[in-house]
């Protein structure tokens, strides 16, 4: 490159930077995160996947919002129009749906990796909590989004879920009333779910993600070492930009391929329109709530709600609980791993079990 061009470019960026009186070196420093060697293995890069999918969701979600009408009389019809009439509407809707599912899957996978490699331990406890809150927000996204379709199953799914909320001890009736905007699922409910789905949750996730990433940057990524693997000192870390960033971009491209393939082969379907007068024979939530639904069938409404809440609470604050157990009872790392295996397998068993039930 001729020297003149390079300096002109530099000059241009300098002028842009001058427009914003901000410590740009700080940003450069933040971007120059030293990335541990093990992240050269792609399966350690899944933490970025949910974020990438979140961006996909925001873009496709905005496009869908152009056409979606959040009123009980119009909602189903507008989804029908998106699916059948709007050019590429079906594709956007399918990408949005698959991306949502992949986002939930990748959050779970990321959580597995972090848990079993012990990356949540001191001093990164708080980031686990933020991560878990992001999982909760992702599930809330899935639930509210599915309800917006306003087909029979999604309508009745919402009805069941708000009934579940009703069973929360002490404050349940307030929560369910707040969710529904009244004593029953109705006109207000759809509007509320819509506001949550496109306003409250995206904002929440944006800030949680920012906190999550800032904490990762501040603490640095946990360094992991495979036994017998010799890494020379100067190779222990590599640069975020451009080395790691290109890996992430590559993963992004592959994800886009995957989303496109899934959307083409299994495009998002549309069931019968919601009918508050007719209860379908089989009511089911989305798959990620199967475990809770199975618990409900195995126990009672109250017990299952309290149990799910307790499990979620323990999981969310596990880093603190674990260290307390370690201090108090000398709990070994091995036991933590077994608890993790047991809990996750339990989740899988309940999920599969529910899928077989009518």
């Amino acid at each position: 490159m001729p020297e003149g061009v390079a300096s002109e470019k530099k000059g241009f960026f300098n002028r842009i930077e001058a427009l914003f009186p901000f410590d740009w070196d700080l940003l450069r420093h933040a971007g120059a995160e030293p990335v541990p060697y093990h992240l050269k293995k792609w399966w350690f890069c899944l933490g970025g996947t949910p974020m990438y999918l979140f961006v996909v969701q925001v873009i496709t979600g905005i496009a869908l919002t152009f056409y979606y009408v959040p009123s009980p009389a119009e909602a189903y019809h507008s989804v029908f129009v998106i699916t059948h009439d709007i050019r590429f509407g079906w594709f956007l809707r399918s990408i949005h749906k698959w991306s949502a599912n992949l986002m939930i899957i990748s959050v779970f996978l990321h959580l597995l990796r972090v848990y079993f490699t012990g990356a949540y331990r001191h001093p990164r406890e708080l980031n686990w909590v933020f991560g878990f809150a992001l999982l909760g927000a992702t599930l809330a996204f899935g639930f509210t989004g599915y309800s917006l379709v306003y087909e029979q199953l999604s309508f009745w799914g919402a009805t069941v879920a708000t009934n579940l909320a009703d069973a929360v001890p002490f404050v349940g009736s307030y929560i369910s009333y707040f969710m529904r905007g009244g004593p029953e699922v109705g006109e207000q409910t759809l509007t509320r779910f819509f506001i949550f789905h496109i306003g409250v949750l995206p904002t929440l996730v944006f800030f949680l993600l920012a906190l999550h990433i800032v904490l990762v940057r501040l603490h640095g990524v946990t360094e992991l070492h495979f036994e017998g693997e010799v890494v020379e000192k100067e190779h222990r870390f590599f640069r975020f930009w451009p080395e790691h960033a290109t890996t992430e971009i590559l993963i992004g491209v592959l994800l886009m391929y995957l989303l496109t393939i899934l959307s083409l082969i299994w495009p998002a379907q549309l069931g019968a329109p919601a009918n508050p007068n007719v209860t379908p024979e089989h009511i089911k939530p989305e798959w990620y709530f199967y475990f809770s639904f199975r618990l409900l069938k195995l126990t009672s409404l109250k017990v299952s709600v309290v149990l799910t809440g307790a499990i979620m609470g323990i999981a969310m604050f596990w880093p603190f609980i674990e260290s307390w157990l370690k201090r108090k009872f000398g709990m070994s790392e091995r036991l933590s791993i077994f608890i993790g295996i047991f809990a996750f397998l339990g989740f899988l068993v309940l999920t599969v079990w529910e899928s077989f039930a009518h």
Partner: protein
């Protein structure tokens, strides 16, 4: 624990996760398929039929496949199988079958519905075959050797006697390699409500439950009834469409739960509007919260008969053998336990004959009780006062029609017959007979049906207006004209009768309005139309 072990754990759990997701996805897609379209259950007995007919009549098989029957493995032979001794049976591909599926066939599974239906007015719809309607179609509109008007018209709603082509010895003609009996083509195909079948049963379930998909939404839709309940003589569907009920239905069809499997209860499964089925046969919630069972006896909730020249309230006599007979309130109802003789119409040798049957009365249901059943449906949306006042308005209209027009005109026709002016054997000889016929059979019914189902325009302009106009301007002059054919003395007698009638209070308007009334009328037009 080494990082490699941890990696194996994460990899294994991820693998299990993926496997679990695939299982869930597989179950989910199976469930979706079930919801979209249940797979038909093709039993061994039906496999052969389905294989051939999928090629010969594919749409018919597709219709069956999407039916509830197909989901339960109820297939072709379950309904079409016949005994080798049945007159309409033949051996088709080794199985004795009949094209005719009768209520008795349906009763194999739907016994309660069969019991209710077979005692109802619907099942007896074919007994109109010996009525004036039929004279009009077969004689007036027909010609010797061609009764196509009756075949294509009357019988397609009322049903016919299904007959066979026979040789001179009376044996049923057979055709083809399989010796298929030849059905008289004027009597089949026929899906009339009161079809009289070779197995002795009366009626056709298919009339409402169209084959081969047998959709609930079809039977529950008003259009289904409108195939027959329409036109100048009984425009129920037009009246319904005009009424508030009909308007609400068409605006809210999508929330009527018409497709619901099983019970379809007003006040529980839907609320937007009543259909014909809702008020006449379907289940509804009572104020106490209990559900009233639906009934395939369509006349159960009817308290007036609006069909004859003069309307009467109807009590219902039920015999111990289940036979039901309407008793007009003008006829003393028998006591429970009393043994009485009744007339039943049955088919013998492919002809409809009357038979005297003795039976013990098991129950007498009064017209008030029948009306209470109907009101139960109304009360799902309206209060007592509203419903009672509606019935007051309706009753008054029927009484008005009865007293002012139906009774005097019927008396005059009967007098003309008694005086030998008209002949009972020539019901459509004189213009006055046609006018009288339309007065009650067309216009009078329109007025009464209009009031019964809240159709204002049918009550007045298509109903009472026509009744009045034709009564004064056609019927009464034609009475005198008919009498004149028997000489001047007869003419003068009927001029006197008509004159006396018109002198009565309700007819005095013909002589003109009072000066005050005429002035009010003039002022009204002036202010309304600036004329």
């Amino acid at each position: 624990m080494s990082l490699t072990t941890k990696r194996i754990i994460v990899a294994s759990l991820s693998f299990f996760f993926l496997a679990a997701l695939l299982v869930v996805a597989f179950q989910e897609s199976k469930r979706l398929r079930v919801e979209e379209r249940e797979e038909p259950v093709i039993t061994a007995a039906n496999r052969g039929c389905v294989e051939c007919h999928s090629k010969d009549s594919p749409a018919l098989v597709m219709e069956w496949e999407r039916s509830g029957h197909a989901q339960y493995g109820v297939g072709c032979v379950d309904c079409h199988a016949a005994e080798s001794t049945d007159p309409d049976a033949w051996q088709h591909e080794g199985v004795w079958v009949s094209p005719l599926v009768t209520p008795k066939d349906c009763a194999q599974c739907h016994a309660r519905e069969y019991e209710e239906f077979s005692k109802s007015h619907h099942a007896k719809a074919g007994q109109i075959l010996a009525s004036l309607d039929n004279v009009l179609a077969e004689k007036v509109a027909g010609m010797p050797g061609n009764n196509a008007d009756a075949v294509n018209g009357c019988w397609q709603c009322h049903g016919t006697i299904v007959k066979f082509m026979r040789d001179k010895d009376g044996n049923i003609l057979k055709t083809g390699k399989e010796n298929k009996p030849v059905i008289d083509p004027t009597t089949w195909p026929n899906s009339g409500m009161g079809r009289m079948n070779p197995d002795g049963s009366q009626g056709s379930c298919h009339a409402c439950h169209s084959r081969h998909a047998f959709e609930a939404k079809l039977s529950r839709s008003p259009e289904n009834c409108g195939k027959c309940h329409m036109g100048p003589d009984h425009p129920q569907i037009e009246i319904y469409n005009e009424s508030k009920h009909g308007i609400a239905f068409y605006a809210n069809r999508d929330i009527m739960a018409l497709d619901k499997q099983g019970e379809w209860v007003l006040g529980r499964d839907y609320s937007a509007a009543p259909t014909c089925a809702t008020c006449h046969i379907s289940s509804y919630m009572t104020p106490q919260g209990a559900t009233v069972e639906n009934s395939h006896d369509v006349g159960e909730r009817i308290s007036w008969t609006l069909r004859p020249a003069i309307s009467t309230k109807l009590n219902l006599v039920i015999y111990e053998d289940g036979y039901k007979e309407d008793y007009p309130d003008t006829r003393a109802a028998p006591k429970v336990g009393e043994e009485i003789e009744r007339t039943e119409k049955v088919v013998e040798n492919e002809t409809l004959v009357s038979k005297k049957v003795k039976g013990k009365v098991a129950e007498v249901i009064t017209w008030e009780e029948r009306r209470k059943k109907m009101k139960g449906a109304c009360l799902n949306c309206h209060n007592d006062t509203y419903v009672d006042n509606f019935y007051k308005q309706f009753d008054d209209l029927v009484t008005l029609y009865n007293e002012k027009f139906a009774k005097p005109s019927t008396k005059m026709i009967n007098d003309l017959i008694a005086d030998g002016v008209l002949s009972k054997n020539a019901p459509f000889e004189h213009p006055v007979q046609w006018t009288y016929w339309e007065l009650w059979h067309h216009e009078g019914r329109r007025a009464r049906h209009g009031a019964s189902m809240m159709g204002p325009d049918y009550t007045h302009w298509h109903g009472m207006y026509e009744v009045s106009k034709h009564y004064y301007m056609k019927f009464l002059p034609e009475v005198v004209e008919a009498a004149a054919t028997k000489g001047i003395a007869m003419k003068q007698k009927y001029e006197r009768i008509v004159g006396q009638l018109l002198a009565q209070d309700e007819h005095i308007w013909m002589k003109g309005l009072s000066a005050k009334e005429a002035e009010e009328l003039r002022k009204m037009y002036q202010s309304r139309y600036n004329q």
